[in-house]
């Protein structure tokens, strides 16, 4: 069953990757990249990894496509073809591929119960989660509690990426590159003059935001968690920006408040860790947050995931507003 479905989706993945690489038109390449992310999400689902599939679908096929399209409207559409011959990179890649191919024969088979990862680490997590944390979604337990320190690093990476994008995009464009003439503003303001799209799209925005909140707080019981919820919430705001114009979405979600909320999300995560230390435990040891250790762990996971969702959503909204609000061309 897995074989047949996996065979199809892996083949599509390779086809989409090759189509992305060989197309000279950047717009077509980014559309093929959207299809690639979709196939990757389907692959993750077939391999029974639901949290990763949700995050990959929301980020890769939704948010990434919007950001790519926004960036492409600021640059040229066709790739600048280089004249150098690429024999050295081809040789290096060929050697790397041969080494990886030879090494893949030493790997254990997919799902082999005698593999080391299924002997030491996985049984520990599977047996300790009902005892210590008592939530059904083991992935969230591992992400937020057992390996909470790594997730703190991820949140800080997302925050740093947001600051990096803002510092690059805050250069103002040269004066002579702005298009002049009346009617330009209406004609390049996006899909506003499609009344059907606006009515239908605006009905979906509150549903998407509600669904993002469901995914955020249901992350302990079903696939979800902070990362996917943040991406879904940002996608809802991006839909508003596409339908009504990026200036109105920047007015609805001002940049400085987004920056403050992103910092607040990271500070919430670190703050939970420091409160745990002040209450007598280790850094990010949530058991001391409540009189019962299990309740303390669940409270800690809830707060930490909320911090993650806050940072991810505000950083993505910040990047979208920064890219979409630069004057076109």
């Amino acid at each position: 069953m897995i074989t047949v479905l996996g065979l199809f989706t892996l083949t599509f993945l390779v086809i989409a990757a090759l189509a992305t690489v060989q197309s000279r038109n950047l717009f077509v390449a980014s559309m093929w990249f959207c299809i690639f992310s979709l196939m990757m999400a389907a692959n993750f689902l077939i391999l029974d990894a639901a949290d990763v599939a949700l995050t990959e679908a929301a980020v890769g096929a939704g948010v990434s496509t919007v950001l790519f399209m926004g960036a492409l409207s600021l640059t040229a559409e066709h790739e600048h073809v280089r004249e150098r011959s690429g024999w050295l990179p081809a040789l290096v890649l060929g050697l790397l591929f041969a080494v990886l191919f030879a090494a893949s024969f030493e790997q254990p088979r997919l799902g082999d119960p005698l593999a080391p990862v299924h002997q030491h680490v996985a049984p520990f997590y599977l047996s300790e989660t009902p005892r210590l944390i008592d939530i059904p979604n083991v992935v969230t337990a591992i992400l937020a509690s057992f390996r909470g320190y790594d997730t703190l690093g991820e949140v800080l990476v997302v925050f740093t990426a947001g600051i990096g994008v803002l510092s690059v995009l805050s250069f103002s464009p040269k004066k002579n590159q702005q298009l002049s003439g009346e009617g330009v503003a209406e004609r390049v303001r996006g899909v506003q003059h499609h009344a059907i799209l606006r009515v239908a799209g605006k009905l979906i925005i509150p549903l998407l935001m509600l669904f993002a909140l469901v995914v955020q707080f249901h992350g302990e019981y079903s696939p979800g968690g902070g990362f996917s919820a943040g991406a879904l919430f940002a996608a809802a705001v991006m839909l508003y920006g596409i339908l009504e114009g990026a200036d109105r979405s920047a007015k609805a979600m001002p940049q400085d408040w987004m920056l403050r909320l992103a910092a607040l999300g990271a500070m919430l995560y670190i703050g939970v860790g420091i409160v745990c230390m002040m209450l007598g435990g280790n850094f990010l040891d949530y058991s001391v947050l409540s009189s019962k250790p299990v309740a303390g762990q669940q409270l800690g996971i809830l707060l930490v995931e909320f911090g993650v969702g806050l940072t991810v959503s505000t950083v993505l909204i910040m990047i979208f507003n920064a890219i979409a609000n630069r004057s076109t061309y």
Partner: protein, 99 residues
């Protein structure tokens, strides 16, 4: 019942393959946008079928999320194409005006 779901899943995968061939061949940009749209909506169906095939109703959240996200992706692509067309029309009008 499992084999029936598997058959439906295979039909959906074959259609995705046909749509991707159209995306590779399509002479216009809109053929490729259409192919991306079809692949997106068929992926939602595939996710729903696979979730029932595996007996895990939790996976339906993914299909729900993706049904909403696909719309946003297609709208973003269309906004870009519209901007490009508007810019080209303005350039052509400017060229005609200066000539």
């Amino acid at each position: 019942m499992n084999s029936l779901l598997l058959g439906a899943g295979l039909a959906i995968l074959v259609t995705m393959a046909l749509a991707m061939i159209r995306g590779l061949k399509g002479p216009e940009i809109y053929d490729r946008v259409l192919a991306a749209n079809v692949v997106g909506t068929k992926t939602v169906l595939l996710l729903a079928v696979v979730s029932l095939l595996y007996g895990r109703p939790d996976f339906l959240d993914l299909a729900l999320a993706y049904a909403l996200i696909n719309f946003i992706g297609i709208l973003a692509i269309l906004q870009f194409v519209q901007n490009r067309e508007a810019r080209r029309q303005i350039e052509r009008a400017n060229q005609k005006g200066t000539r």
